[in-house]
């Protein structure tokens, strides 16, 4: 059986990859994908801790992840709708060009 730390390492790396994508990419859609990766890394942690935890019988981790997935779905839908709406006005999804609100 794989030790718990392996799963935590995987989730750490996944989180870092998602984070790197969020802070380095210019395309807003790809930034959203990066955020999804970060959420997934957190989900993996939930599942791993639940599996290796003491509370075995109660599906606590599963519940947390289920709600997290639902939130991710809502977030993706609204986020992508926003990106499309912004694109319609500004004809770009490049994040640096969307700085009108900057003081």
């Amino acid at each position: 059986m794989t030790p718990l730390s392996q799963y935590l390492f995987l989730s750490t790396l996944l989180f870092a990859i998602g984070f790197a994508g969020v802070v380095t990419r210019r395309n807003a859609v790809i930034v959203l994908v990066g955020i999804e990766f970060m959420l997934n890394a957190a989900n993996l942690n939930f599942i791993a801790f639940w599996r290796y935890g003491v509370s075995g019988a109660a599906p606590t981790g599963i519940m947390a992840v289920m709600f997290s997935i639902a939130i991710a779905a809502a977030e993706a839908a609204v986020g992508l709708a926003l990106i499309i709406a912004v694109y319609r006005h500004r004809k770009t999804t490049q994040l640096e060009k969307l700085d009108t609100l900057k003081g």
Partner: protein
């Protein structure tokens, strides 16, 4: 040991496809790589005996969110890549440094903790029935809230992405809408 080997295979697969999703030039390729990464994670959930979550992950991430991302890319013409346009933002080096730092900060406590020796307790797969009962009793309020949130998100997304009427249409809305021909007119058209 087969469990261990397959874990490493899928872990490497997830990391590779995730990196590809963040690095590739064409956003459609990024979305496809992301879908592969999500599917790999579903397999890892399955190994962790979280059967239900694994299938939900496949259904929602691969079946829905990836498709949504692809549609967004196509609708924003993100797949037309001009050769001159930079892929990364101007401060990408700083961002990358911060990301590495974040990874480091999380990895250090993982290494120094005693999780390494921790071995999973023997357990059977959490039955779906138990999940359902918990959802209907202990987690009823979050569940209802989630339903509300999803409804709001659905309507909100539809409203935001709705095409706004052109200005000329606002001024005189009738002119743009073509009158539907009546039955008599249609018949008159057909008849010689």
């Amino acid at each position: 040991m087969p469990n261990n080997i397959s874990f490493y295979i899928f872990a490497v697969g997830v990391l590779a496809t995730a990196t590809a999703a963040m690095r590739l030039r064409n956003p459609v390729h990024c979305a496809l790589a992301a879908a592969a990464a999500f599917a790999g994670l579903a397999v890892i959930y399955f190994q962790l005996d979280a059967e239900f979550i694994s299938f939900a992950q496949l259904l929602i991430y691969v079946g829905a969110i990836s498709i949504l991302v692809i549609f967004a890319v196509l609708l924003t013409r993100g797949s037309d890549i001009q050769p001159g346009v930079e892929l990364a933002s101007p401060h990408w080096l700083t961002g990358l440094a911060i990301a590495v730092l974040v990874a480091f900060v999380i990895a250090v406590p993982v290494c120094s903790s005693s999780f390494g020796e921790k071995i999973a307790p023997k357990m059977t797969v959490a039955p779906v029935k138990l999940i359902g009962e918990e959802l209907m009793t202990r987690y009823l309020f979050p569940l209802e809230t989630m339903g509300l949130l999803l409804t709001v998100a659905l309507i909100g997304a539809a409203v935001i992405a709705l095409r706004e009427p052109e200005e000329s249409e606002i001024r005189n809305p009738k002119s743009e809408i073509r009158k539907q021909p009546t039955t008599e007119e249609l018949v008159a058209e057909v008849q010689p």
